[in-house]
């Protein structure tokens, strides 16, 4: 059973090795003559005005939080979807109840403007 996963492990090693090898080759074959200008962060040809660790919009956090909720729900729906035929009407109605509660929450955040990006 677990032996089926062995090729995946080997594949991961090969893929990481491929990435590392390509970068190593690039490092060897490419020239190396750095200077201060070249190594400074890109800012439209100017010298950088201020630190790049700046404030950013709180909505990115909001998206991340909403994503976690919905992603968990997908993980919850996966096993349900597979056995739906066996669990029949009761299983279907139970999940509809859960989805209903989730949709109420979704509508609430919609009305609150959590999904607006104007």
């Amino acid at each position: 059973m677990l032996a089926n996963y062995l090729p995946i492990l080997i594949f991961m090693a090969v893929a990481l090795f491929l990435g590392a090898a390509l970068m190593f080759l690039g490092g060897i074959l490419g020239p190396h003559n750095p200077d201060t200008e070249k190594l400074s962060p890109y800012e439209c040809g100017f010298e950088a005005f201020e630190d790049s660790r700046m404030k950013f919009d709180v909505r990115y956090y909001l998206v991340a939080i909403l994503f976690i909720i919905f992603d968990l729900e997908i993980a919850f729906l996966f096993p349900w979807a597979i056995v739906l035929e066996e669990i029949g009407l009761f299983g279907f109605l139970a999940m509809m109840l859960f989805l209903g509660i989730l949709i109420i929450g979704f509508l609430y955040e919609w009305k609150k403007g959590a999904l607006e990006w104007e």
Binding site: F11, M23, A64
Partner: protein, 336 residues
């Protein structure tokens, strides 16, 4: 255990047999893209290197290999170097569970769809790490935009997959294709049509392709999260983006277009081997990626987020309820 080393060698050979076509496919996909968009804009596209430009991708690879790799002074060196690898690896490893024919699959695991979903989610780490480690404003803004967009569309994509699972009653990609045997009318494209549309468009958005490419909008934030990358480090991001395009196309073909099965279950079509049918289907789906880029103007960021959250998620939720309700009634066979 005498069989282990032999098994490992066989696996390695299989992995190389998968990786070489994928990487060649990436190289020639860039060529096909430039040629196709060229023709769509009444130009000829690249035609100087080799006969009719056929050696252009090779020349590009050589050029990128010989360019200097620049690591900015302010960058976090370790994360800066590791990010391209973290982006590339999941795009390639997902092929491990892809069924090429009935018997030809490297790792025939039962949770293969879950595995694919997990791996495609890994890609966002590379984007975030690259943007943060670069310590540059454009890279930072680009990675934020890109990450928020990827996670938003991943939800729609996940819900679309739930619909496929309800129809197939299996997480195993091979089983899902086996259920679609018997020709065009058996493909999940028809009963799950809304989910097919959502899955494919979300796939275009997941790979940051036009018209959803605000993350690298040249006119606003130059190249987004990989603005500070050069040479081979940039090439790895590029490779990952195109490998992801091919992966999404392969998934679309597998989940909705009957995988390795021919469109008609009669003589001249069944002579062509299954792998060839899969490749043909992948190419057709890829053509749409390129066609979109040549045709559609870029979306605004608020439009992208609205489409993902306010259109796709409701569509998929409604269709999941429709399938579930239909399966409780005698018309449930329509969704199998």
């Amino acid at each position: 255990m005498p069989g282990w080393s032999q098994l490992t060698l066989r696996n390695l050979a299989f992995i190389i047999a998968i990786l070489v076509p994928v990487i060649l496919g990436v190289a020639y996909l860039t060529f096909a893209e430039r040629k196709l968009i060229g023709y769509m804009q009444m130009r000829v596209g690249p035609n100087r290197v080799g006969p009719r430009g056929w050696l252009q991708p090779i020349a590009d690879v050589l050029k990128l290999l010989l360019k200097e790799i620049i690591v900015p002074t302010n960058a976090n060196r370790f994360l800066f170097i590791i990010a391209p690898m973290l982006t590339l690896a999941p795009a390639l490893v997902a092929w491990a569970v892809m069924p090429f024919t009935d018997t030809l699959v490297l790792a025939n695991i039962d949770a293969s769809l879950l595995f694919i979903l997990a791996l495609t989610s890994m890609g966002v780490y590379g984007v975030i790490i690259a943007g943060w480690a670069s310590n540059s404003k454009y890279a930072f803004l680009g990675s934020l935009r890109s990450a928020a967009q990827i996670v938003s569309y991943e939800i729609a994509m996940g819900f679309a997959l739930v619909g496929v699972l309800m129809a197939a009653q299996s997480l195993n990609l091979r089983e899902i294709v086996l259920q679609q045997q018997g020709g065009l009318h058996q493909w999940y494209l028809w009963p799950l049509f809304p989910l097919f549309m959502v899955f494919f468009i979300a796939g275009v958005a997941e790979t940051n392709r036009a018209p959803f490419d605000v993350a690298e909008g040249e006119s606003e934030i130059v190249a987004g999260f990989h603005v500070e990358y050069s040479g081979m480090t940039f090439a790895l991001f590029f490779l990952a983006e195109y490998a992801n395009m091919i992966l999404i196309s392969a998934l679309t073909a597998t989940l909705f277009l009957g995988g390795w099965y021919p469109p008609f279950d009669v003589a001249p079509f069944t002579w062509i081997p299954g792998v060839a049918w899969l490749v043909i289907k992948i190419c057709v789906v890829l053509f749409f990626f390129l066609w979109f880029r040549a045709t559609f103007p870029r979306y605004r960021y608020d439009q992208i987020m609205r489409l993902g959250w306010k259109v796709f998620i409701p569509i998929t939720l409604v269709w999941i309820v429709v399938i579930g309700a239909a399966m409780q009634t005698p018309i449930g066979f329509l969704f199998h």
